[in-house]
């Protein structure tokens, strides 16, 4: 007997995944959530094919208490985890109906009332071998609402009697509330618990004004907690650290010429277009209903219960869509703020929306990182040893991590919840600081070590690709530096160290698309970046073309990707285009700013992202493959910065190793020689 896939083993009852209505409509409830990546449409394609129905017959319902618990929607795992589970669940439904009808050609509507789906899934159910929808460009289910401006997002929710709430954040990390005596207008309720402050009222604009009044009236005890933003390298190396041994071949480096370099990136913000939002209703008997754009609604429910010492069964969280999510942002925090405010007005729904400033200053950041690479080269231009040390804060502090709630406002309550420094996901889940620290090349004598800070005043957590962004930037920048030292072409040098045929194919495909090797005009450069995400996910190669005159202009990205069997080709292209464009933004312009007390990059002016006229043209080639499907959403995050950095070096002859690649950083690199 075959084993059920992970998500289905955890939620084996078929009816938890799929319900068939009397009109033949098939409702599918997955535990993965729509974050703007189009996953719900791709999963519907898989379900419809296995059920043997058209795409219009399938309705996708939000993740929540009535559906399966699939943990987090993260790490490009949804097609692997949920896709396999949905497929087998759908095949079970088809078989149960066929058995009831006594024939393979039946009507779902006709038999809906007579088939019991509350049965365990059979792992050995026969699967259909032909697909009508998988592999085709089914348009996204959610886009018409979004393009026509219909209510769709959590901030559009209006439950009967709903009030608006705002939480007032402290002025700086670690601040404690001393006093607050605001003069508030009628109709606005102040909520204070420890250092947590909030206001509730029926008029949203009035509530926003009242929140500002409270902010000005509050007196706090504050102190400097933050490191020097210009000395992040020193901060990351100072420790204390957890040491993470990734590879140690145990051999000393041989003689030969040695190449070494250090690369870094600053803290980076999620900077979603919508600030985080939560809705909650406090029910009788200390139960609470919550709506959140969390990546893990069940984890969030347990964390809320833990923070407020509630029975976890009484905390019900349903997913509601918000703007794009690229990792652990403030979604869970906003949901908890809504719960704290809703507790003050039992029976009344409260919607909390964070301000843009709070979103940019108080949501967790992607960690700053720094990495040292050194390697020896033989006279023939082959790498004969590889040493790598990466320094970083941890990459996950999600709800429930390290046995604490992981919810920001829980740290403001009396007594305050502990909020230790972020940890790293285990190697089995793709690691964090050391994600993609192991190069995909055939290298002897490797010694690869991660150093995770175990104390920090700066809140970091999971952001798209975690450590892979800096690790691949470092490795792939270094491959170019080593190729230069060996006097070899960067593409040839990579191929000489890469036996994996799928890796070679994406590199060769991207290079061919970019016409690699054709001479470019003065001031224009091409650069390569390559990685297999997490060492076991999608293969991706990127060629960047930049023009460097007074400033760097990223003109074009050519991307080749192998994600195994493709469910929705346009969905894959869209994810690669978006991921690469976002990674280009991190690479070129983004940096969280702070003084010794406050985060100062809290508007779109102080935290700029790429604008329309700065975004590159992106061409994506999706490799035709029958291999197992893997996720696409994070594949380009590492190769893109490397390709851009290498292209800048090719264009101007100067290597910039510290991100972002701003004009100032390039001038500084030129001055250092």
């Amino acid at each position: 007997m075959a084993e059920l896939p992970k998500s289905l083993a955890a939620n084996p009852v078929v009816g938890r995944w799929i319900q068939v209505g009397a009109d033949g409509t098939i409702a599918v409830r997955v535990g993965k959530v729509e974050l703007g990546q189009g996953i719900v449409t791709a999963l519907a394609q898989i379900a419809a094919d296995e059920l043997g129905v058209g795409i219009a017959a399938v309705r996708m319902l939000p993740a929540g208490p009535a559906g399966p618990d699939e943990g987090l929607t993260a790490g490009s795992m949804s097609i692997m985890d949920s896709g396999t589970a949905v497929r087998i669940a759908a095949a079970n439904v088809r078989e149960l109906f066929a058995a009831a009808a006594g024939k393979a050609d039946f009507s779902y509507a006709e038999w809906a009332a007579r088939v019991d789906l509350d049965v365990p899934a059979d792992p050995d159910v026969p699967l259909r071998q032909t697909h009508e929808l998988v592999g085709t460009d089914v348009p996204r289910f959610d886009l018409p609402d979004k393009v026509y401006g219909r209510p769709r997002y959590i901030q559009d929710m209006r439950l009967p009697g709903q009030l608006f709430g705002r939480a007032i954040k402290p002025p700086s990390p670690g601040a404690r509330l001393l006093s607050v005596e605001p003069a508030l207008p009628g109709g606005v309720t102040l909520v204070r618990e420890g250092s947590f402050l909030g206001v509730i009222g029926a008029d949203e604009a009035g509530v926003v004004r009242a929140a500002e009044t409270v902010r000005r009236a509050a007196r706090w005890a504050e102190h400097d907690t933050l490191p020097d933003e210009d000395e992040l390298d020193k901060f990351l190396r100072a420790g204390p650290h957890e040491t993470i041994m990734v590879a140690d071949d145990g051999e000393e480096p041989p003689g030969g010429s040695t190449v070494r370099a250090t690369y870094s990136r600053p803290f980076v913000a999620h900077a979603s277009m919508a600030p985080s939002c939560g809705v909650a209703v406090w029910r009788a008997d200390d139960q609470v209903d919550v709506w959140s754009h969390s990546q893990g609604v069940f984890l969030l429910g347990r964390a809320i219960a833990g923070a407020l010492r509630l029975d976890p069964a009484g905390v019900r969280v349903e997913h509601a869509e918000n703007a794009g999510c690229y990792g652990h942002n403030a979604a869970d925090d906003a949901a908890f703020d809504a719960v704290l405010l809703a507790r003050a007005v039992p029976g009344t729904p409260v919607q909390v929306l964070w301000s843009r400033q709070d979103e940019l200053a108080w949501a967790p950041f992607g960690s700053a990182m720094t990495a040292d690479v050194s390697a020896t080269l033989t006279a023939e231009g082959r790498l004969s040893s590889w040493q790598y040390d990466v320094y970083s804060q941890g990459h996950t502090a999600r709800p429930g991590y390290a046995g604490v709630p992981g919810l920001f406002s829980a740290t403001l309550l009396d007594p305050p919840a502990d909020y230790p420094a972020a940890v790293d996901p285990p190697a089995a889940a793709g690691a964090g600081s050391t994600r993609n620290a192991l190069p995909g090349y055939d290298l002897p004598r490797r010694r690869i070590t991660g150093h995770r800070l175990i104390e920090s005043p700066i809140r970091s957590s999971a952001m798209r690709a975690l450590g892979a962004f800096l690790n691949v930037f470092a490795i792939e920048s270094f491959m170019d530096e080593a190729a230069l030292a060996a006097g070899l072409d960067p593409l040839e040098f990579r191929l000489a160290h890469l036996g994996d045929p799928r890796g070679r194919r994406v590199l060769e495909t991207a290079a061919e698309a970019a016409d690699w090797g054709r001479p470019r005009p003065e001031g224009v450069g091409l650069g390569l970046g390559y990685a297999r995400y997490k060492g076991r996910g999608a293969y991706c190669a990127v060629v960047a073309e930049v023009e460097a005159e007074n400033e760097v202009r990223l003109r074009r990205l050519h991307i080749a990707v192998d994600v195994g069997q493709v469910v929705n080709p346009d969905g894959v292209r869209n994810q690669l285009e978006g991921g690469a464009t976002q990674a280009a933004s991190w690479t070129l312009v983004e940096r969280v700013r702070f003084d010794r007390r406050h985060v100062t990059s809290d508007t779109w002016e102080s935290y700029p992202i790429l604008r329309f006229s700065q975004t590159p043209a992106v061409d994506v080639t999706v490799i035709d493959s029958r291999e197992k499907s893997v996720g696409a959403g994070e594949a380009a995050q590492g190769p893109t910065p490397a390709a851009i950095g290498n292209a800048v070096a090719a264009a101007i002859g100067v290597r910039v190793r510290d991100l972002p690649l701003t004009t100032e950083a390039i001038v500084a690199a030129i001055e250092r020689g």
Binding site: L143, G206, G324, E577, I609
Partner: protein, 152 residues
């Protein structure tokens, strides 16, 4: 009391004159298509037309609208640029899209056949975090192609 047109319908708004238009649209008139993104007029998610010009509704106080004509995405729908966005699947999370559609529609009024550079320049006041900009530029150019512009 401030009086102005919203999608062609006369409205009398009793809200405090300093109230940003966005809250009136979303909470009093039930028009959710303009989204709150920053509250500072810096991201573009809340753009609407005021007398044909695409502006941020989050920092437009209602007192300034006396006698003017406001058009929201609901009043624009259906517009060829929306169909072009769907044809190109020019969105990921979609949160920025309605504001961008408003500015693109205003651009197409001024310049019915814009090229990619003109579109990118016109949309530079809008942010998209998912990285769908190039698809959106293609969609707006597509909407302005002469053979596409005649139908609705």
């Amino acid at each position: 009391m401030t009086q102005f047109l919203v999608n062609g319908v006369p409205r009398q708004v009793a809200a405090d004159p300093d109230t940003p238009l966005l809250y009136v649209l979303r909470n009093e008139l039930g028009l959710m298509g303009a989204r709150f993104g920053c509250g500072l007029g810096l991201c573009g998610a809340c753009f609407v037309h005021v007398d044909g010009v695409s502006v941020p509704s989050c920092d437009t106080p209602v007192w300034s609208l006396e006698g003017k004509s406001v058009v929201t995405v609901e009043g624009l729908t259906p517009h060829p640029v929306q169909q072009a966005f769907l044809d190109e699947q020019a969105a990921q999370c979609g949160f920025c899209v309605t504001g961008i559609v408003m500015t693109a529609a205003a651009l197409l009024e001024r310049d019915p056949h814009p090229d990619e550079t003109a579109v990118a320049t016109a949309l530079d006041r809008h942010l998209c975090r998912c990285g769908a900009q190039q698809r959106m530029i293609r969609a707006v150019v597509q909407a302005g192609r002469p053979q596409e512009a005649s139908d609705g």
